[in-house]
Symmetry: C3
Subunit: 173 residues, 3 copies
């Protein structure tokens, strides 16, 4: 937000088309994640992507985990959480994007979001239901817009008491 804005040479049609392509890559990520197409998950991100969303469900700051860096590490991290030893059904929805081009090949985006997760803890169904905003940056690489950075701020998160027990069952975690 405080970076100097580069000159944008795109005409109005090109600008709107760029915003559409950014919205498409955001949409594809959520769909790929919720339908567990892990082979495609990395490819919507830049090679050097940084994600700070892990642990954003916990309100205890000291329990938050460090950023995940790199396309392959990110794919392994999310696959470990959602599709490791404990399978988790997930629904992630994104709303009302505010996309700002910061140059012809870079942009920022803020999206309202809601996520739901479910897993079977023996005979108990565990559930998380969260609300917040994704804050992302995008970069155009070889003509394709990709996600370069993501963090998540929360308005509220509700969970069943045993929801985070899945971590103790998951070697990746």
């Amino acid at each position: 937000m405080t970076d100097p804005v580069q000159e944008i040479t795109l005409d109005p049609a090109e600008r709107v088309l760029a915003i559409r392509e950014i919205e498409n890559v955001f949409a594809a990520r959520l769909r790929i994640m919720d339908t567990k197409q892990w082979d495609r998950y990395g490819s919507v991100h830049t090679e050097d992507v940084v994600s700070e969303t892990f642990g954003a469900a916990v309100t205890d700051e000291s329990a938050r985990r460090p950023a995940v860096v790199g396309r392959d590490a990110l794919r392994r991290a999310i696959e470990g959480v959602l599709d490791g030893p404990v399978p988790v059904t997930s629904v992630h929805h994104g709303h009302t994007p505010e996309i700002t081009l910061t140059s012809d090949t870079t942009a920022t985006g803020v999206w309202a979001m809601e996520d739901k997760l479910w897993w079977s803890n023996g005979s108990t169904e565990e559930h998380l239901h969260g609300y917040g905003h994704y804050h992302e940056t995008y970069r155009r690489v070889d003509g394709v817009w990709l996600i370069a950075y993501r963090t998540l701020t929360r308005l509220r998160v509700d969970t069943t008491p045993g929801f985070f027990d899945y971590r103790s069952r998951s070697p990746q975690e």
Copy 2:
């Protein structure tokens, strides 16, 4: 998806405007359905529309019903489900469209979706809450984009035990 892609002659502005018009017809369908304006429901679809969404709430494949074909049949089918002998309050939301023009007059679209249905079963309120993706195709007819095909894949559906009892009360069903 495997069809050969026709040449697209639209310029960038026309392409983005086409995508907007497609998003508008999708939005109008959900609003018309949830506000029960049945006289307008057919008109957002092509005459030969095919819908395979009926029965998408049930996980038993053998219980799925065949496609509904044609604008008038589709309107009667959905009105029968939502506004027949048993009135059903419905909320359908669509998110993060991925629209792809396949020619100047045809397109495909995938939308994340969430639906909620409620009806009164005597003193019990029955409820369905589902999540998934709409997969649609669109066709431009006489200058207007219309929905030509729709199916629905599900991530999860929760219902109260008696939710589907309304079918036994509805002659249309």
Copy 3:
């Protein structure tokens, strides 16, 4: 809707860009409200904005309150509801906009919406969960699209029995 439509001189790219800017101001309002940035709330509306959404949660028409008129009055009203003596956590989501330009500097918009509110009533957590459609108009003032009018129609509202008790605790209400 029945006003005579002014001539639109914007070209296709400018029209789509205008629609994007309108969507951005809608998105910003919800984000500013849910993150309680009251100093910024007025600025996304015209000076003479009219809001008829207050009391839209109640089904008893006689209990509905009059329109709030003006940027500053609107900000005080919403701050009083959500961030007065009784703090309320809120999540407002808007979906599938249908934006129509009615001139180069005016537009209408309909959005599907869902809202959730929570507050602590002693040891009870009170909750409202609603669904409906925002109906807005927009006006371009000094080159910036702003919200000029808003009302809300409801499909359904669920609340805990004591939800509206916060009003008796709030001098602003």
